[in-house]
Structure formats: C-alpha cells, structure tokens
C-alpha cells in the first residue's frame, strides 16, 4: 500500500512478452478480434436502441385495437366519441394504416392514411403535412413517399405513379406527388402517406372504420387508469400503453443481445482453453529463466507478480485495441454485415446511419468480459511456473 509501483518489474514484464513475440502476438490478435466483435455488437445494439427509443417517444400513449378471435380487426370510429368522454382524455384519434406487400420487390410498405383536417397523432406528421400540400393529393389521387420507398419504386420502374392492387384484384393508380425525409431514419424509409380515403380504398375498409384508435392523455400519470377504463368499456379490445411497448422493445433488444452474449461465452470458453494451453506449455527455456530468477533472489510472489503484469498488459492492450477497432468499424464504416443481425433481412433494406451513442456501461461490460477472464486463465499456469523446483532446471 505504501510502496510505489515497481516500474522495473513492469519493464521486465514487457521485455519478457517481447521475448516470446510470436506466441504473444497471436494471443493478442485473437483476443483483440474477440473483444472488437463483442464491442461492435454492443455498439450496434446501443445505436439501434437509441434510434428506437427516439421513435418510442413519439409513440401514442394509449393504442386501442379491436380483437376478434384473438386477432386484430378494424374498429368502429364510434368508439372515439365514447373514449373522448372519459375524464382525463385529451383526444382520441382514429388511424387508418397498414402494410402493403409489394410483390415484385418483396418488401412491405407502411401505408398511413392522412385526413388533413383531423388532428394528427404525431407532430412529425403535422410537419410533413404542412410542408407538402395534401389538399392537392386528395384531389389528384396522389401520395407522398419516404426516401426508401422512392428508391424501391424507381428500381421497379414506377417513377411517376404506382399501381396498388386492391383486395378484390382491381388496380388503384396513385401518383407520386413528392418525397419526404423525416428526422427518424427508421421511419421515413418504408412509409407512404396518402389521403385517408385512398387508404380505406386500398385496404377495402368502410368509411366509419379505422385500424386502431390512439388516445392522448393530458396527465401521463393517469395513462394506466384510463387504459383500464377503456378496457372495461370495451372488453373486446386490446389496450396497449406506451410504457408496455417500451418495456417489450427493451426486452427484445436485451434478449437479442443476450443471445450473442451466450454465444460469446462459448467462444470465451474455447479461448480460455487455448490460452491455458499456450501459457502452460512452458518451453524449457522459459522454465530455465524462472529458475534463474529464483536462484538470484526472486520470491515466488515476485514471479507471480511479474506474470500478472504480463497477463494484464496483453489483455488490456487487446481490450483497448478491440474497443478502438470496433469503434472504427461500427461508426466510421457503419458495421457492414454485422448490423444485419439486428435489423433483419426481410424488412426493407434500411439504409440508415448508426448514430453515435457513447455509453460507459458498454466499456465496462466489455472490460469485465475480457480482462478478468484472460487473467483467470493465466492464474494456474503462472503459479505452476512460479513454483518450479529451481534446482532441477538450472542444471
């Protein structure tokens, strides 16, 4: 506690590592690779979580969906009037939206029906409506699409208009009036905004029906109570609060991250075995060196300390490089290949940018999963070499 750090010992440790250059560089590379893989996974999932959370903030406080035989069904807009009368409810807005499967490209578009004169459930939509003239859109049967959608349509030669196929097989031609780009990348990519009437038309829904109803509550503390009230009023509905959505998203992400962590354990275990093997196999040269050190006055403790410095130096350098490499890989090169594990191939090939999210937590996580594990693997080999019967090796 009172002793200053033994720099001679650290220097000796570094020298010792360099004397076994090839073996140590191999270990360093493997370990750095594993660390950077792990850190990349954390960085990517953190970034996606951040993107998602930003989206979640704009989620409706309460969503009311009608269920029939446990499956989602369109809901009657009459319900809106009853909900508005519940104390504490600021507004209840019916939404018409859904997915349209574009067979040629094999992707789903999200279709959102807009009624210009109604309140929009999201501020971002309000902005978009102001910026793009929707009144014309309704007259001319046209739509505004997100950048990702535009790209797909262009690729499929639909540059001016698009033909939706109604459920009865007939076509509905809708012109493309413009493109919008919202500040939420995940969102703008697969969304098509069009007048509510057209949406109802495409989905073959009647005028007084809606996909679901979202409820705005003036006091966020009351969300839960109001949700229960709605459920009591309409037992055949599913009433989801924003908190529930947030938790389930968080859990999915942690779950996915957890799977990778589980896989990582396996690789760590393998690595453990490799290190143990490599470090245990002391060449007669190494044994001799330690024998000499002890003969000239080094204690077992001193040898152990030196070996510890060696392990710590390698694992810490591997950790630092791993983090830096992963940082470059994820945020500068945007993590090719790896990010698909999280965003999935089946959706529209999203071309969003991973936002830079800095999290101390991740750095500590990766540290705990790398450095102590490496040092643990070297405990027994280090001890074995430190307690060698000196007289045998210096003959």
């Amino acid at each position: 506690m009172k002793n200053k750090i033994n720099t001679y010992l650290i220097e000796y440790a570094i020298n010792s590592l360099l004397r076994q250059k090839y073996k140590n560089i191999f270990i360093l590379i493997v370990f750095t690779f594993l660390t950077s893989l792990l850190t990349s996974i954390f960085f990517i999932s953190n970034s996606i979580k951040y993107e998602l959370n930003t989206t979640l903030k704009s989620l409706p406080q309460i969503t009311v969906q009608k269920l029939k035989a446990g499956r989602h069904h369109s809901i009657n807009t009459q319900v809106v009037d009853h909900i508005i009368n519940i104390a504490g409810v600021e507004d209840a807005i019916p939404r018409v939206w859904g997915y349209y499967y574009f067979e040629n490209a094999g992707v789903n578009f999200s279709i959102v029906g807009i009624d210009e004169f109604e309140n929009q459930y999201k501020d971002s939509l309000n902005k978009i409506i102001k910026e793009n003239d929707f009144s014309k859109a309704e007259e001319n049967s046209s739509m505004i699409v997100g950048t990702g959608v535009k790209k797909i349509l262009d690729e499929n030669y639909y540059s001016e208009y698009f033909n939706f196929i109604r459920p009865d097989g007939t076509f509905k031609k809708v012109d493309i009036a413009g493109t919008f780009k919202s500040n939420l990348q995940l969102e703008s990519n697969d969304i098509i905004l069009l007048p509510k009437e057209i949406a109802l038309d495409i989905f073959d829904m009647e005028e007084d029906m809606a996909t679901d109803i979202i409820v705005k509550v003036s006091n966020p503390e009351e969300i839960f109570t109001i949700a229960s009230k709605i459920k009591l009023m309409y037992p055949d509905t599913r009433v989801i609060t924003n908190k529930e959505l947030e938790i389930s998203y968080q859990n999915i992400f942690d779950y996915k991250g957890g799977i990778f962590l589980a896989l990582f354990i396996i690789s760590i275990f393998t690595f453990f075995i490799i290190i143990y093997d490599k470090v245990s196999g002391l060449s007669s040269e190494e044994k001799k060196e330690i024998g000499i050190l002890k003969a000239i006055g080094w204690k077992v403790e001193d040898v152990l300390k030196e070996k510890f410095y060696e392990s710590f130096i390698i694992s810490f350098i591997a950790y630092t490089f791993g983090v830096l490499i992963s940082f470059t890989f994820v945020y500068i090169f945007q993590a090719p290949l790896l990010r698909n594990i999280f965003t999935g191939y089946s959706e529209l090939k999203t071309s969003f940018e991973l936002p830079f999210v800095f999290d101390f937590n991740t750095l500590f996580l990766v540290f705990f999963l790398s450095v102590p594990i490496y040092i643990a693997a070297t405990i027994i080999p280090s001890w074995k070499s430190a307690t060698i019967e000196t007289d045998k090796v210096i003959r």
């Binding site: 002793n3 200053k4 033994n6 001679y8 010992l9 000796y12 020298n15 360099l18 004397r19 001799k288 060196e289 000499i292 050190l293 002890k294 003969a295 000239i296 006055g297 080094w298 204690k299 077992v300 403790e301 001193d302 019967e389 000196t390 007289d391 210096i394 003959r395």
Partner: protein
C-alpha cells in the same frame, strides 16, 4: 559465514516406487573465506549440495546452517531473501538474458526490491567497474564476446555483494582460454575473503594453489 551441513539427506521421489537418493547423510563444515571444490561424476550429488546450501531446495533430512541460522527450512519469502543477500550464483552457461543489455542483466537481482533509481545506479556502477565491463554497459549481451559475457554473469552474481559464492560446473561449456580467464577472476574473488564453493569435474581446478580444500562425492556420499 560459516556453513554447516548436518546429516544432510536428499531423496528425489519421481513416484512412489521410483526414488533416487541424491545425498546420503552428508556432514560437512565450510569455514568462512574457504574456497572449496567439490569433485565428482555427474549424478554424484554435488549439484544437490549446492542447491541445498543456497536454499533452492529443501532436504529430506538434516539441516543446513549458515552463520548459526538454519536456512534449510525457511519459507519461500525468507529463503529468497537469504539467497539475495548472501548467495552469489554463477551458472554453467551464464544464463544471461541475451536480448537485454549488460546493465539490465546485472540489475535483475535488484528488481523485486524496487530500489531507488540513484541507489541502483550506484550499485551497478560499482560492480561493473569491479569486473571491468562498464564500458559496455548498454551493449546487448548477445553481441558480447564469451569472456565479456562471463564477466557480466559474475558481476550479476556480485551486485548484492554476497558473502558466499556458489558455482555449478562453471567451466563445463568453456574453452581452455575462457576457463583460465574464469580462474583468474576466481583468484581475485578469493582475495576478498568470500566463501567460494565450486562443483566441478574439470581437472583444471584440482591443481590450483589457492584452493583450500577438495572433497569428492560419489553416489551421494563423501568419499574424500
């Protein structure tokens, strides 16, 4: 430093059925300042005697007493302290670290003590001067000549100024010239009144005028 070996026995157990007795009931007293040569074929136990005196191994029976203190059963902490302060070990093949410099090699015994920079420098200078290699202090050992490496090895063993010098077959890997060179250094060391114990079967040592005593071991027992 008076060294007393009392009923010293060392048995190596490879396994339960395979035991070799390296030393059998050895009794020996070594006076302070004495230069003792231990003669014997390989396997006779002479290396074992040396490691027991240096407390590098522990006897199966008997005691090693140095300056009235029993060193044979010291726990590791104390044994290494004893070695560091009182024993200067000279090895068969020098056993220097070839990629380090002369200075760094000689520094090795001092490292665990974490000495003050200035003090360490003083000790190093002193011992390098004494063995005449200070002009090469920053040279990498592997680039030195055989004779120079020899002097580094000896300097390293003397950095803590130990009273006992132990050499195990010091000339076994050397040519005539270097062997003679070693003997010259030995002559100088003898003058400093240190106790010197050499285990060897090199006949060069048997005719020296400054050797006080020659004993012979065979099969772990003293025969002469």
């Amino acid at each position: 430093m008076m060294i007393e070996l009392k009923n010293l026995t060392k048995v190596f157990e490879v396994n339960k059925n395979n035991k070799t007795t390296a030393l059998k009931d050895l009794n020996l007293n070594i006076k302070e300042g004495e230069l003792l040569v231990i003669k014997g074929a390989s396997g006779s136990g002479k290396s074992t005697v040396l490691s027991l005196i240096a407390s590098l191994s522990k006897p199966t029976n008997g005691e090693v007493i140095v300056d009235k203190k029993r060193v044979s059963k010291l726990p590791d902490n104390f044994a290494s302290l004893y070695r560091r302060e009182h024993i200067g070990f000279i090895f068969q093949k020098y056993n220097l670290i070839p990629t380090l410099s002369v200075k760094e090699n000689i520094l090795l015994p001092l490292i665990p003590q974490n000495p003050n920079e200035i003090e360490a420098q003083k000790l190093l200078e002193k011992v390098m001067k004494k063995f005449k290699i200070e002009h090469k202090k920053d040279n990498i050992v592997k680039n030195l000549s055989g004779g120079e490496q020899q002097r580094v090895a000896i300097a390293r063993s003397q950095v803590n100024d130990p009273k006992i010098i132990i050499a195990d077959e010091p000339t076994a890997n050397l040519d005539k010239e270097l062997s003679l060179h070693f003997i010259e250094i030995l002559r100088e060391l003898k003058k400093t009144k240190k106790t010197i114990i050499i285990a060897t079967h090199d006949p060069l040592f048997f005719e020296l005028d400054f050797v006080d005593r020659i004993i012979e071991l065979s099969n772990g027992e003293l025969i002469r």
